[in-house]
Each structure stands twice: as structure tokens, then as C-alpha cells.
């Protein structure tokens, strides 16, 4: 179960994935250190979302090796569940549970997966909602909240499991412009607190400010990997230059 430790909290080695005939991931290799914040960007359809969804097995990879916190992802269900407990995820469409209130959304995981006492879970949930800035919305249903508020509840829900790694799959893409900032602020605070994060996003301002590294994807391949400084000022590949010229306009 335990594979090499100490060389990275997430390790990708030559990971491939196909949807039928379509080769989505074409040999992805990278390593993420504990506490690192990595932004993945690239044109749509380049496989960046698919890539981070393989980390908690929402998508299966067909070749190569993925090691998360010393555990290799295989078809072993217990292994998958163990990894999911350590990896929190925030989705583009929030995916809150509409039949539960905000605080119930947050306590669900701790109560049922971590077997935490209800009162304890409640207390943690309220603290987390406070941390993401919406303690007053605790008893509302998702349908009564704005997009930005929903996404912050979703972040709190993921944090409630005390994950070691947080994945963000285009967390601001479905938001109205005036709500993007409130979500990004929460994410920045989280990054500064030392959380290991992988963020798929088009928010280049966020990438520049927070990321330790930026990874650029195209056609299912990892084209370029660099510090924000280098990435924005001295992109190596033609494809990266083109992408940056389009997105920074």
C-alpha cells in the first residue's frame, strides 16, 4: 500500500487516459510537494480538468502511476476511499446538496465518513463557515444562496474533512464577475495557510499572486511548467506564448 515517501505528496508518472479512441491524457509526469500551490491552465479540452479529476478517482487513468500521499491509486476501493478522505475538491458547478442546509452540507462528511460526533461536527462547520465569511447563511438551503456564497460553502464542505490536498476545478468559471473576488479571497487565504492546492483556472491574476508553480496543458500534454515569474515573462514554448497573448488581452 505504501509506496515511496518524502519525494512528493502527489506524484504523476507517465499517466495516460483515453475516452474511447480519444487520447485525453498523453503521458503526464509531475510531482507536487507538500504545501505547494500549483495552477494548471490551458485551452479548454486540453485535459486539465480530467487530469485533476484522476487524483481522487472521479476519472480513471488507464496507464501510468498516480501516488497520493504515499498511496498508489488502483482499483482497490478502500484505497480510493482513503485517498478521497485526504483530498478535498471544489467544483465549477458547486455541486452542493440542494436538500440540505449549508451547515448540513458541511457536517455530512465529518459525521458519516469520519464518524465525528454531531455536536463537534456542527461546531467545526460553523467555524469553517465563519472562515469563508458566511456564518449568517448557515441554515439556508443552497437554492437561497448566491453563486459566490454557494462556492464558499462548497469550500467549507471540502475543508471540513481536514484534507491534506485541495483540488479546485475552475472554481470561478460559473460565477458572476462581482462574485469571483469573494471566492478568490478565500482561496488566497487558504493558500497562505499552507494548504497544498491544485487549481485549474483562467484567473491569471490569482496565478501570478499565489501560485508557486504554473503548469500549462495542451492536447493532453504538459507543455510547460514554471514559476509564475518565468511563465508570464519568459514563456519557453510557442504554444504558451500564443495562449498568454490571447488570455492576457
Amino acid at each position: 500500500m505504501s509506496v515511496t515517501n518524502g519525494e512528493g505528496i502527489i506524484i504523476y508518472r507517465d499517466v495516460h487516459k483515453w475516452y474511447g479512441d480519444f487520447h485525453v491524457l498523453r503521458g503526464i509526469t509531475f510531482t507536487l510537494q507538500k504545501g505547494e500551490v500549483v495552477v494548471i491552465c490551458g485551452p479548454s479540452g486540453s485535459g486539465k480538468s480530467t487530469c485533476i479529476r484522476t487524483i481522487n478517482r472521479l476519472e480513471e487513468h488507464q496507464r501510468g502511476q498516480i501516488i497520493v500521499d504515499g498511496m498508489e491509486l488502483t482499483n482497490d476501493l478502500r484505497n480510493i476511499e482513503a485517498i478521497r478522505r485526504e483530498v478535498g475538491m471544489v467544483f465549477q458547478q458547486f455541486n452542493l446538496f440542494p436538500h440540505l442546509t449549508a451547515v448540513q452540507n458541511v457536517t455530512l462528511g465529518p459525521i458519516w465518513v469520519l464518524k465525528m460526533k454531531k455536536s463537534k461536527a456542527q461546531q467545526i462547520a460553523l467555524e469553517l463557515l465563519e472562515r469563508v465569511g458566511i456564518p449568517e447563511q448557515a441554515d439556508k438551503h443552497p437554492g437561497q444562496l448566491s453563486g459566490g456564497q454557494q462556492q464558499r460553502v462548497a469550500i467549507a464542505r471540502a475543508l471540513a474533512m481536514s484534507p491534506k490536498i485541495m483540488l479546485f476545478d475552475e472554481p470561478t468559471s460559473a460565477l458572476d464577475p462581482e462574485m469571483i473576488k469573494e471566492v478568490l479571497d478565500v482561496m488566497k487565504e487558504l493558500a497562505r495557510s499552507g494548504m497544498t492546492m491544485i487549481v485549474v483556472t483562467h484567473e491569471m491574476g490569482f496565478a501570478r499572486e499565489v501560485a508557486d508553480r504554473i503548469i500549462f496543458f495542451d492536447y493532453g500534454q504538459l507543455v510547460e511548467e514554471n514559476t509564475p515569474e518565468e511563465f508570464f515573462h519568459n514563456p519557453v514554448h510557442e504554444r504558451t506564448k500564443l495562449f498568454l497573448s490571447q488570455i492576457l488581452e
Binding site: 481522487n56 478521497r84 478522505r85 440542494p98
Partner: protein, 403 residues
């Protein structure tokens, strides 16, 4: 000046919209007599309505309604022996007590239901029934009130809620055993096939209570990743849905008679109940599957992402949402199941419809077909309407529109 304008503007804004009321005469002219053709249609329609209403009234006033009170016991509980009818009352009291208990500890919808039950029983007690019957009826209101008191005292306590729920779940088997009798303890009552309307009710409640969970399991099974489970569930659903209920009932009554020796063959009534449960479960499964289909993939992904396993995801996230979506369809299914219990009549079970036929065959009550059928219609309508009323209230309280 500017300020002033602003003010008038504001007040105008605050005025309610102009009333849409039209004087009666103008309404008549606009809607009923706007042209020659319309006028003719109005006159003709009025004539038809008046004739029908008068005909009905004339019949209703001259009808022999006494057939109903005279046979009321037969219609409602069939040939259940008179000296044991107290058991039926006791069953009713238990339900009334539980309703009262729930209404005392919860309020809301439960309170409204139990208040309605109490009021209706008071009204019935005023009607000119024999004194014994009146006393029995008043007992419903009394037991409801006792339950309410108990529920009110235990309100908000966790054990109270647990007791309440387990009592509800246990109440039905208790009632069934109680009505039927247990050897050595309560005399067993023979002739279960002739219990009148009570059979319709029991059949419907057993059918609903069992076909719902079975239907949910079948629906989940049909979407299972395991091919064996999926094939068995799909096959079951498609086979049952392809056969009319009446032929299934005939199979249960006649074929089993031929195939199984009497010693291992369950009683006819039980066979009928198993059949209607099995039948209804297939339809229930498809209703539930419709709800499951409507839940977006993101809900599964979010549940998996916080570490829930498949079972927990289904029970905590998917089913609660899916079932909410299909409440109207499920209640429709319950209502039609209840009405389908009249088909028991075709396999020689004397439920309400069939027992009515035997009353019609009685010389004394010759020609009372309409009176009896009107009675059946009213009884069924009351039960079905109550179900759909409750379902609408449940839809509201669980907030279907809250998405």
C-alpha cells in the same frame, strides 16, 4: 420642487394595481352572450345542466338511502363477527392515538390531519346512529386527544420521537394480528375473504407499505453496475409490467390452487396481497428510477469527493432528492393501488365492491344499485382525496421547489 415630484412618483409606485373587477352584467355579456352563436350555446348548455341537476336531485330525494345504514356494518367490515367488532374499533383507536401522538409532538401537517379526524368523528357522533355506535365513534376523538396530550408532554425529547416512529412502524403488524386473532390468545376469526371495505383498506396499506421499499430496491437494482442484479431487476419489472393485474390475480388464485398442496398454500387474501404488492412494486420501481435519472452527475461526484461510499451516497444524497421529485407520481401509484384492490372481487374475495353485489342480490334491497354505487364512489373518493391532499402538503413541507 424636485423633491415634491419625487414624492408623488413614489406614492404612485406604492399604489396597488387597479382592480380588475367587472360588473356582473358586463361579465355575462362579454363571456356568455357576445354573439348569436354564443347566446344559443349558452341557452342550450343551461338547459342541459338544469335537466341533469334536476334529474339527479329528484332521484337522490326519492332514492332508498336506508340501504346504506341498514347494511353499513356489512359494507365496512363484511362478515366480521359482531361480538368481535370491538377489535376493529380498537385498531381504529390505535391509529387515532398515534395520529394524536404525532400531532402533539410535531404539529404542522400531522396536527391538521388529526384535528380533521377528530372533527369528523364528532360530526359522525351527532348523526342518528344507535347509541352504542355513537359511543364507539366518540372514542376516536377521545383516543386522539389522549395521544395528543402524551405527544405534547414528550415534545422535543429524542426518545419520544423514537417511540413515536417505532410505534407507527409496529402498529400495522399489531393491527393485522389483532384483527385476525392469534391461536390461544385471541380467537382467530374465520372467513378472512369476506371482510368488506376493511379488506380494501388493509390490502392498500399492505401493498403501499411493502411495494414502496421493494420498488426502491428494484429501481436501484436496475441501475446497478452488477450485470446479474441489473438483469434480474429489469426482467422482473418488464415481465410484471407486461401483464394485467387481473390475470396475475387469477394466477395467484387458481394456478397456485392447482400447483400447491393446501398445507403449504397461503390463504387467498394473503396471495392477493402478495400479488398486488408485486405488481405495484414494478411500477413503483419505474417511478423511482425516473427520479434517480434526474439527479445530475455532479451530486455523485461531490458525494464521492468527500469520501462517502456508494451506499451512503445513495441513501443520504441521491434517494432523498430523487424521491422528492417523484412524490406526485408515487402518490398516483398509491391511489391506483388502492382502487385496484376492488379487483380482489374477481377472485371471490368479498371486498367492498363484491359485497355490494351480494347486497343487491338480496330481495329486500332489489333495485338499490345506484344508491350502493354512489356510496362506493363517495367512500373511495374520500380516501383517495385524502391521499392526494396529504401528498400536496408533504410536497410543500419538504420544499420541492427549493432547488
Amino acid at each position: 420642487m424636485n423633491d415634491n415630484q419625487q414624492k408623488t412618483y413614489m406614492t404612485k409606485e406604492q399604489l396597488p394595481p387597479p382592480s380588475e373587477r367587472i360588473p356582473l352584467l358586463r361579465w355575462l355579456r362579454q363571456n356568455l352572450f357576445s354573439s348569436w352563436l354564443n347566446t344559443i350555446l349558452t341557452v342550450m348548455a343551461t338547459a342541459v345542466i338544469v335537466t341533469v341537476v334536476f334529474g339527479l336531485l329528484k332521484w337522490a330525494l326519492g332514492a332508498r338511502w336506508e340501504v346504506i345504514p341498514a347494511n353499513l356494518k356489512l359494507l365496512l367490515v363484511g362478515t366480521y363477527p359482531l361480538q368481535y367488532v370491538w377489535r376493529v374499533w380498537a385498531a381504529v383507536y390505535l391509529i387515532s392515538l398515534l395520529l394524536g401522538l404525532s400531532s402533539g409532538s410535531r404539529g404542522g401537517l400531522m396536527r391538521r390531519i388529526s384535528i380533521t379526524v377528530g372533527l369528523v368523528s364528532v360530526v359522525f357522533a351527532i348523526l342518528p346512529f344507535p347509541w352504542v355506535t355513537r359511543t364507539w365513534i366518540i372514542g376516536i376523538a377521545v383516543s386522539g386527544a389522549v395521544g395528543f396530550g402524551l405527544g405534547y408532554l414528550g415534545k422535543g425529547r429524542r426518545w419520544c420521537r423514537r417511540v413515536e416512529i417505532s410505534l407507527w412502524i409496529l402498529s400495522f403488524p399489531i393491527i393485522l394480528v389483532f384483527l385476525n386473532g392469534v391461536g390461544g390468545f385471541l380467537p382467530v376469526i374465520e372467513g378472512r375473504t369476506t371482510w368488506g371495505f376493511m379488506l380494501n383498506l388493509i390490502g392498500a396499506i399492505v401493498g403501499i407499505g411493502l411495494s414502496f421499499p421493494i420498488g426502491v430496491l428494484l429501481a436501484l437494482g436496475r441501475r446497478s453496475k452488477l450485470p446479474a442484479v441489473r438483469i434480474v431487476c429489469t426482467g422482473y419489472i418488464e415481465i410484471i409490467r407486461g401483464v394485467p393485474l387481473i390475470s396475475l390475480l387469477f394466477m395467484a388464485s387458481i394456478m397456485l390452487q392447482l400447483l400447491l398442496p393446501a398445507s403449504v398454500r397461503p390463504d387467498l387474501v394473503i396471495r392477493a396481497m402478495i400479488t398486488i404488492t408485486a405488481f405495484s412494486a414494478a411500477y413503483m420501481a419505474e417511478n423511482v428510477r425516473g427520479g434517480l435519472q434526474a439527479i445530475p452527475r455532479g451530486q455523485y461526484e461531490a458525494a464521492y469527493a468527500i469520501g462517502l461510499n456508494g451506499t451512503l451516497t445513495t441513501t443520504l444524497i441521491i434517494l432523498p432528492q430523487a424521491l422528492r421529485l417523484v412524490i406526485p407520481a408515487i402518490v398516483g401509484q398509491f391511489i391506483s393501488l388502492f382502487m385496484d384492490t376492488t379487483l380482489f372481487g374477481f377472485i371471490a374475495i368479498l371486498e367492498l365492491l363484491n359485497i355490494t353485489r351480494s347486497i343487491m342480490g338480496n330481495l329486500e334491497w332489489r333495485g338499490t344499485i345506484f344508491e350502493l354505487y354512489v356510496f362506493i364512489g363517495v367512500v373511495f373518493w374520500i380516501v383517495c382525496y385524502s391521499m392526494s391532499f396529504i401528498s400536496r402538503r408533504i410536497e410543500k413541507t419538504v420544499g420541492v421547489g427549493e432547488r
